[in-house]
């Protein structure tokens, strides 16, 4: 029963990834023969295991290093912002629970239902030089208001917009799982709202917090649509960089090297996610035992 999805993933993801990695090492046979016959500026294998020439070329290039820096910066800033905003919404919903709270949650979840390309285009128009913010600022007498479209700040805004719903959903449900009795007990013992949050709610939502942080990190690291549409032409995030290498420059080998780097960054985060989950499962098992 488990086999069908695993076979689909093994065939259409596993095999291409393995052969893609072999291709980055300079192995041009088998599945890679088509791509190797049309790619430009390739480094063929010179040892039995291959060559690191493509990695050396990509990893030492200025464009790559600038993209890597931007990618790490955007990812860190976006994850912090998504987490903070998501937590504010979730905490507000948990602590107040009225009609405004439901409205706030519904608003925060809205982007989940809209294609990222629509969100990115809307953000691009909204924060443009003739967009809503500059127009309103001008009406209020500030004629030199900055625009965010085609800037790295705009990319961060777009990432927060697209990734907020997942954070809110996961954190809201994590906070909802904390029993009311615990919160009331803390209040009876004289805890102020801030103490309830810091001492009761946050410690009990560590797994949802890890899920939010890791999934947002992985989503932002590998993102394409937001940085492609909203961001500047250069420096771009690695997702755009590898698409450019593949489509515009016809350098599939360099493109896949970049993909491997992004995957390596994402797996570091993925391992943290799996480990925290495993630890939590063990802890839960030992409590119930």
């Amino acid at each position: 029963m488990v086999l069908p999805p695993l076979l689909v993933v093994a065939l259409f993801v596993g095999i291409p990834v393995v052969s893609g990695v072999l291709y980055t090492l300079g192995h041009f046979g088998g599945l890679n023969s088509v791509i190797a016959s049309i790619g430009l500026h390739q480094h063929p294998a010179d040892h039995w295991w291959g060559t690191l020439a493509a990695y050396r070329e990509v990893l030492t290039s200025d464009t790559f290093l600038r993209s890597l820096t931007v990618t790490v910066e955007v990812t860190l800033a976006s994850v912090v912002a998504v987490f903070a905003l998501g937590l504010a919404v979730a905490l507000y919903a948990r602590m107040s629970g009225g009609r405004t709270a439901r409205l706030v949650t519904a608003l925060a979840v809205t982007p989940l239902f809209l294609p990222a390309v629509i969100g990115s285009y809307a953000i691009l128009t909204f924060y443009a030089g003739d967009g809503a913010l500059t127009t309103m600022a001008h009406a209020l007498g500030w004629s030199s208001a900055p625009r965010l479209s085609y800037t790295t700040w705009g990319v961060i805004v777009g990432q927060v917009w697209t990734n907020l719903p997942f954070a809110v959903l996961v954190l809201t449900s994590g906070l909802a799982a904390v029993p009311d009795a615990l919160i009331e007990a803390a209040r009876d013992a004289g805890a102020r709202p801030a103490q309830v949050v810091l001492r009761v709610l946050l410690p009990m939502t560590s797994v949802p917090a890890v899920i939010t942080a890791t999934f947002t990190t992985i989503a932002v690291l590998g993102s394409f649509t937001v940085p492609y549409l909203v961001g500047p032409t250069a420096p771009t995030m690695l997702g755009v960089q590898l698409a450019n290498a593949f489509q515009s420059f016809n350098q599939p080998q360099q493109s896949l090297v970049t993909a491997v780097v992004v995957f390596a960054l994402a797996s570091v985060v993925g391992v943290a996610y799996v480990r925290s989950n495993v630890r939590e499962t063990r802890r839960a098992a030992s409590v119930t035992r």
Partner: protein, 271 residues
Amino acid sequence: MTAAAVVRRAGGAVLAALLALFILGPLLWLLPHAFADTWRYPDLLPQGWTLRWWTAVADNPDLVAAVRWSFVFAPVVTLLSAVICLPAAYAFARRDFPGRRFFLVALFSVNAFPKIGLYAAMASLFYTLNLMTTFWGVVVVQLLGTVVFMTWLPAAAFAAVPRSLEEAARDAGAGPLTVFWRVTLPLARPGILVALIMSFLAAFDEAQGTLLVGAPTYTTMPTAMYSMVTNYPEGVAAVFSLLLSVPSVLLMLGVRRHIMGGHLAEGFQLR
């Protein structure tokens, strides 16, 4: 009302207003663009209004075809994904077999590899299998984005069904299939519904892989949107964005309760 309650209520109103501006502002700003004839900065409203962007979209056969293909691919992909993944989800929830957690993580690795890099790597395989520029090629490429949702979320939903209920039904003489159809499935339904919605949205939203595999024969709304942003007048892109938002908003109004129910978060806790 106490002072603290007033502060909290005001804080809530500010949070709601800022969030509305941040989330809805960009979408609402597209609305006048879809009807604007000429609109010079820094005027707050357009100088003239027109419907010509709407007729431009309606008269463009490529754009109409993109709308149609979007509504063909997303349901086909969602159904196929359900057929492939739901039995696996049940097995992950109910059987303990060696490598169970490893396989769950293996499915997740699809999401950890940058999508665009994955498609670049997949291109060779698609050429070899003659899937390039084919209907099923597009289906496969969109299907990959749904696998994690369609396995993890239903697995958590199945796992949450109390075994005692199933055993009680069995004691009352129900066969395994009856137990599944009458007890397990109804109780797991909300989680499965969330998985179906997430998969539909993932397929509906997929643009990069569809562009690589399907273009120029199979263009969906998001892939058409890419070329529109760069090649068409602003008004046309605004109209198309609004059209693309309609199914999403309808879907959202219909299923918000289920999405908010915590099934999403539950599904992402590896057990």
